[in-house]
Symmetry: C2
Amino acid sequence: MSRQTVEEYMETINTLQETQGSPVKTSSLARFMGVSAASVSEMLRRLSEKGMVDYTPYGGVSLTEEGQKQVMKLTRRHRLWEVFLTQYLDMGWEEVYDEACELEHSTSDMLAEKLAQFLGNPQTCPHGSPIPDSQGRYKNEAGVPLTELPMDKKAVILQITNESNKELLVCLNELGLTPDTEVKVIRKSSFDGTLTLEAKDTIKAVGTEAASYIIVKPLN
Amino acid sequence: MSRQTVEEYMETINTLQETQGSPVKTSSLARFMGVSAASVSEMLRRLSEKGMVDYTPYGGVSLTEEGQKQVMKLTRRHRLWEVFLTQYLDMGWEEVYDEACELEHSTSDMLAEKLAQFLGNPQTCPHGSPIPDSQGRYKNEAGVPLTELPMDKKAVILQITNESNKELLVCLNELGLTPDTEVKVIRKSSFDGTLTLEAKDTIKAVGTEAASYIIVKPLN
DNA sequence: AACATAAATAAGGGTAGCCTAAAAATATAT
DNA sequence: ATATATTTTTAGGCTACCCTTATTTATGTT
């Protein structure tokens, strides 16, 4: 089986575990990967034989420790490339996800470490997600979705989940809602929950879906 | 057919056209790609259908204009990555060929141009080979193998062909025989042709095989 | 508990890319 | 010019990954 394809399955399993909990359903995987459920079943059987996932037919799938380790390696490569592409090649933060998806599969261990060194061992990607260390260890700073931040409480943006959503990222970038920015919710619409924010001394409006992808850390 | 595989066939056809002339034989391709001649035949039929090569059974293969253009794009990506890897990530010039082989297949048009810009549009790779421009145009400076340089004539190293030969590159690097270095042949062994050189005010010995891979431009 | 519905797998088929063995074409030597 | 050797292609098979259709399993409702 082609390395690239397998790696994409494993990464998707990981993402779905994180966002929707474990175990992951065949149908979710099929939807996210754009293939039929039958293809997923088949692949899960193979990945299971290779010891990368725990898979019980009809019961869903989760990564084994070994599988998790592999995914952390890929995540590291992916996010290091994102840092390089934004900081040195001047790409937009909505463009780098797709490029990094390609590059990560062509990155040797040595290259990854040299790149990390060149970049000064960054701790997060441009979207604020943590970069696993060379051992695959991962420290995630605790935060809450902006939707759950109490009114009038100052907070700092940690991370934008959904880093592959270009429309979202373009929009947030225009609003200046990027990691490390301080924000405060000053109004919540009683009709549809739309938030009114104060950030960088300006007033901004953010819908609930967008807000749910913005992870913040309350201050004090 | 997987893009990667196809691209590697095309690049190999190009390399063999350059080094051994056109058309390229099935058996050469099979040898260089490490696959059976039967697999090559099959692939050539498919590439021919796609208009990438001119192929006559039993008669060898050569790239079409379209195929050539594709290869130039890949060559550009490959050599740009080599420059990046040596200049910014501090990789050895014997290591970058393999890494660039992987990366070139994962490089979009936009990424290639951004990278070129970041690197200051370099004209040659670390081994001295020209980098095609964004239109795929290619200007190769004329030179001769070191084996054909007249004795006592000063020359400057243009290029090391055989950039994938690690042992050769390590050795030449130790001797300081890299592009832009001035050299002069001061002795040729009448027994086996081994050359004695003067470069950087030091005396160096180079065998004929190694010397045949060193392309120089005579001065004055 | 029985039934309807949804989800997942099994069965069967396709393509790309690889192989080996056999057959065909070409090159070489006598 | 013919026989032999070499090269190349054809034929037939294998695996990875994908598909659609049919069947099985799980789930939720009454």
